[in-house]
Structures are given as C-alpha cells and as structure tokens.
C-alpha cells in the first residue's frame, strides 16, 4: 500500500522573520519616521494637554507676533498661538487624511475587485473608463467633486476619496486579475467551488498584501490632497486649525509673519514624509523584490 512512502521530511519550517515593527526600526530613516509620526499622533490624541493655549483664543499674544518664549512659533493675525494651532491641527489633518484613504481604498478596491473578477465586456468598458479618469488630474477631480458636494470637512473627505477611486481601482483590478490567473484559483473553479468561496478563500487573501501596500503608500498622498483643498479654500474652513487652512491664512503675510506658514507647513511635510518613509519600508518588507538588490 505505502510502497512509495517518502521518508524524507519536508523542508524545515521557514524561519519567521522578525515582526514588521522590529524590521521598521532596523533602518534609521524609517525609525526616525516612526518617532516623528508618534509625536504627531500624540499631538492629535493629547492636544488639550499639550497645547499651551486654546487654538481659537484670539489675543493670546500680540497680533502677528514673532516667535518668543511664550509663543515658540509666534502668533497669527488674531493673536492666536501658532504652536497650539499646529498641535490641534494634527487632530484634523491626520484623521481627515486617514478617513479619505480608507474611504477611497474601500470604494476603489470594491470596484477593482469587481472589474478584475468579473472580467469580460464589463471589465473592458470599466477598465477603459478607469484609465480615462486616472489621467484626469486628481486635484482637479477633487475640486470638481467639491463643486458638486459643496465646501466643508466631510465634503473634502468624500471629494478626495472619489478622486482617488480610479487609482485604487486600477491597482486592485490588476492584482485581482493576477490572483485569478493563479492555477489554484482555476483548480478551485474546476473543482466546483462557488464564486463567494473563491473570492473569500483564494482571491482576497492573495491580494491582501497589495491592499496593505496601497494603503501605506497612499496615506501621505491623502493627507497632502486634503490639505491642498483646504489651502485652496475648498476644504476645511477657517477658523478650524487645520494645517492647510492655516497655510492659506498665512499666505497673505509671507513678508511680515513668515512663521504663520513655516510651522504648519513643516508639520504637514513631516507628517507626509514620515508616512511615506514607513510606507516605503513596509513595501520592502512585504515585497522583498522591491529592495534594490540584484
């Protein structure tokens, strides 16, 4: 019966790499990025305790006052403390960016999965439309969405998410098509597995790394886009201490009070670059081929 029993044991269990967080800390750039991001997240979580002043309290100091001991980033036109506003700004800019990303990723992912899995004529037309939309400048599309939805915090989240749908849909569609071409998906289908079973057990787990990657690589972009709309006056409205809005306030006073725009801009830049650095590192960890080694 067992005349061909193979006594040789299978290959040894592949050594599990250290945790993702540990791997992130091994590279100096991503370690610094994590520290910066932690500080900014703390700003957002503990703003009332960290900020020395109420962010909307006028005349907390002189109008357009230069940085000094009491107001390390100076004060704005209404005498509000810029540092306090930057700290509170984390509470708006970061969650707005994250919400935008999740919404766009969910909608775009669902569309991409449907296109890629169903295929055929539905996909041929859908993919073409996605391609055309993709070529449309995302910021212009977001501005258009705002013109339909109106100006405001929730509206900007939806607008930027809509503008990002084509990008996510395209990538997830591609990943789904590749996943579907896997022989194990074909063999599940040949075995008589239902569509739901194939998607849940075989396709979704296969594209999950792509989804994670897409999320980490685009969080920075989402923060940037929402801030840009606020800067253009189409997003979060003053006097909310959102970074983009603060920069919009500061542009009139570049000559007289540059600190009004330096601090929020720096905060925005640091948030985006640390998220991007972490995203880059995560993509290296998930997909070792992208590491630049031959």
């Amino acid at each position: 019966m067992s005349d061909l029993l193979i006594s040789a044991p299978p290959e040894a269990e592949r050594v599990k790499g250290p945790g993702v967080l540990r791997q992130l800390m091994t590279k100096p750039t991503s370690a610094v990025a994590i520290v910066i991001l932690t500080v900014l997240v703390c700003f957002a979580l503990f703003a009332p305790w960290i900020a020395p002043f109420d962010p909307s309290q006028a005349s907390a100091g002189p109008r357009l006052g230069a940085p000094e001991a009491a107001h390390i980033f100076g004060t704005d036109l209404h005498g509000r403390d810029v540092f306090s506003r930057v700290v509170w700004g984390a509470r708006y800019s970061l969650p707005v960016g994250a919400a935008t990303l999740l919404l766009g990723l969910f909608a775009g992912g669902a569309l991409g999965l449907a296109l890629g899995y169903i295929g055929g004529r539905f996909d041929a037309v859908g993919a073409r439309v996605v391609d055309v939309l993709l070529g449309f400048p995302a910021i212009v599309m977001a501005i258009l969405a705002v013109s339909v939805l109106g100006v405001g915090l929730v509206q900007v989240v939806i607008a930027v998410a809509i503008a990002d749908i084509p990008k996510f849909a395209r990538v997830i569609r591609g990943a789904t098509i590749v996943a579907k071409q896997n022989l194990f998906v074909e063999s599940a289908s040949a075995m008589g597995a239902s569509t739901a079973r194939i998607i849940v057990l075989h396709v979704l787990p296969t594209i999950l790394p792509t989804v994670i990657l897409l999320g980490t690589l685009n969080l920075g972009g989402a923060i940037l886009s929402t801030a840009t709309l606020s800067f253009l006056g189409l997003g979060v409205q003053p006097p909310t201490p959102e970074w983009g809005t603060m920069l919009s306030d500061g542009r009139e006073y570049i000559r007289y009070a540059p600190w009004m725009m330096i601090a929020p801009g720096l905060a925005l830049f640091l948030a985006i670059i640390s998220v991007n650095l972490i995203g880059d590192r995560v993509s290296e960890i998930i997909d070792p081929r992208s590491q630049g080694r031959l």
Binding site: A124, V132, P137, A138, I139, T228, F231, G233, G292, L294
Partner: protein, 310 residues
C-alpha cells in the same frame, strides 16, 4: 500603421463617454442654474422663464444632452454666469500662461526625476541610491503650496533675486520649480524601479555573456528597456503636472486656467467650470495619444501587435 490608426479612432468614443459623464455630473449639481446665475438678485417669474428658454433649460434632458455634445465639439459652451463673456474666449485668453508654466514644470520635473532615478537605479543598495531615493521621496512629500510660499519668502522677500509676480521668464523660475517638484519624486521612483527591473532580465545576462563592457550593458540594453514604463506613465505625469499647475498658480497668484477653475468653483460659475473640464479632458486624451505613439516607437512589440487588446 493600424496601431496608430486604431489609437486615433479609439479617441472618439472615449471623448463622447467622458463628455457625457461631465454633462450628467453637472446636471446632478443641486440648484437651478438660473438661480445660481442671478446669485440672489430678485427677478420676476417672466425674467426667469426667459432666461431658462435662452439657456435651453426648458427642453427635455436628452435634447440638451445631444446639443451639449454638439456644442462641446465646436467649442461653444455658453457664457460665464459672472462675466457674461463666452467661456471659450475666457479660456483661450488664459491658456498661454498655464501652458508656459506646464512646459517649464515638465522640463524641470523630468530633468530632476531622470537624474535622481538613473543615479539611484544604476547602483541599487549603495549610499548614492539611498540619498537619491530619499531626495525623491522628500520631493513627493513636499506640499507644493508650502514649498511655493517658502521659496517666495527666501528668494523673493529675503534675497530679492527673482520677481514674485509678473509674467516674464524670470518670474517663471520659482513656479516652474514648484510645479516640477510635483512630478519629479514619483517619476524618479518609477525610473529607478524600472532600471532595476530591466537589469534583472535574461537579456542582460546575454549581453554580459557577449563580453560587452558594463557601460554598454547598462547604457544600451538596460536603459532602452527601462525607459518604456516611464514613457507609458508620462500621460499620468502630465496630468499630475496640470494638477500641480492649479496649485502653483494659486500660490504665486498667477493668472491661468488653474486660478480660473478655483475661482469658478468658489463662485459657482458652472458654465466656466464645465468648459474647463471638457477641454482639459480633450487635451489630456490628445496628450495620451501622443504618449501612446511615442511608446510604440520605443517598443517594437507594441508597434507590431496584431492582436487587439483583450
């Protein structure tokens, strides 16, 4: 030749499709156009009815839709609610500065992107790669409106080297850098990964086995193939560039289509916004056609493809 012909013919249905989408999106905007136009000024029923008839709003939806497509094709998309001037004329008057800015930004962006990408991709894993990759990442992380303001402050206010406003060539320097930065980072990353990918292919091993020196292996065999993905992405880079121009114009208070678009949205000047979208899509599709043709010239496999895309 069929390849190019096919691309050109494929343009028509896509154009119709996008313009249809634009039409229906604008139909979905809440608020009666006449009320928007009057902007709160009280008017009699009769005036409103007359305006509706003049704008063709009393006609059924399908009729307006067909007429819209026809008018879009001949460049007659109505008048601005605010200035009452034909929107096509308004756009033509402002297109020059935007094209200047986009062209200058493209040159700056591609130059920076190629330089960083090639330097990083040729010797992956070295410190030069680390520096270039970091610079590219920093570039794409910079909020361009902030970069613009910082540059204005440093070079305009403190140093006084360049004029900040105006339409001269020297007033274009800072905006071009800001716009270029908008695409340079992503472009550099793409160039880098595509060079690394090309260097891994079997034909590179063949080239080495022929005894070619590294300069020819990389410079001829790898680079030519590595350029294909960046060229296909050029269309998307260009559209990002237009997006960048919108922001840059705003920061530098330059006249142009971007400023016009933002003002149009804020003022709810729908005919103007609609016309801007219609012509941006047309421009974008034509640009993409040119990119496709360029792609075909670089990659013989595309040129000879007899199979229709599936």
């Amino acid at each position: 030749m069929t390849y190019f012909l096919r691309r050109i013919l494929a343009l028509v249905p896509i154009l119709v499709l996008t313009w249809s989408a634009v039409f229906f999106v604008f139909e979905a905007i809440p608020g009666d156009p006449v009320n928007l136009m009057l902007a709160g000024v009280p008017a009699s029923e009769e005036v409103i009815a007359n305006e509706r008839a003049r704008l063709g709003l009393d006609k059924p939806l399908m009729e307006r839709y067909i007429s819209f497509l026809g008018r879009a094709a001949v460049g007659d998309l109505g008048e601005s609610f605010r200035t009452r001037a034909p929107v096509t004329e308004m756009i033509l008057a402002q297109i020059g500065p935007t094209l200047q800015l986009a062209a200058a930004g493209l040159v700056v962006g591609l130059a920076m992107g190629l330089l960083l990408g090639v330097l990083a991709g040729l010797r992956p894993g070295t410190s030069l790669d680390t520096v270039c990759t970091f610079a590219a990442l920093a570039g794409s992380s910079l909020p361009s409106f902030w970069t613009g303001m910082v540059l204005i402050y440093v070079f305009g206010s403190i140093l006084g080297w360049v004029p900040i406003v105006g339409l001269g060539i020297d007033a274009l320097i800072l905006p071009a850098i800001v716009t270029g930065l908008f695409i340079a980072g992503d472009f550099a990353r793409l160039v880098r990964s595509s060079i690394i990918d090309a260097s891994r292919q079997d034909y590179i091993r063949t080239a080495r086995a022929k005894g070619l020196p590294p300069i020819k292996v990389v410079g001829k065999h790898a680079l030519r193939n590595a350029l294909i993905p960046p060229v296909t992405m050029l269309g998307i880079s260009l559209s990002n560039l237009i997006g960048g121009a919108v922001v840059t114009e705003n920061v530098f208070a330059r006249p142009g289509l971007g400023t016009m678009l933002v003002e149009g949205v804020l003022n709810k000047d729908m005919p103007l916004v609609q016309a801007l979208v219609v012509y941006t899509t047309a421009a974008y599709l034509i640009i993409n056609l040119l990119v496709d043709i360029l792609y075909g010239l670089i990659d013989p496999r595309i040129r000879h493809a007899r199979m229709a895309p599936r």
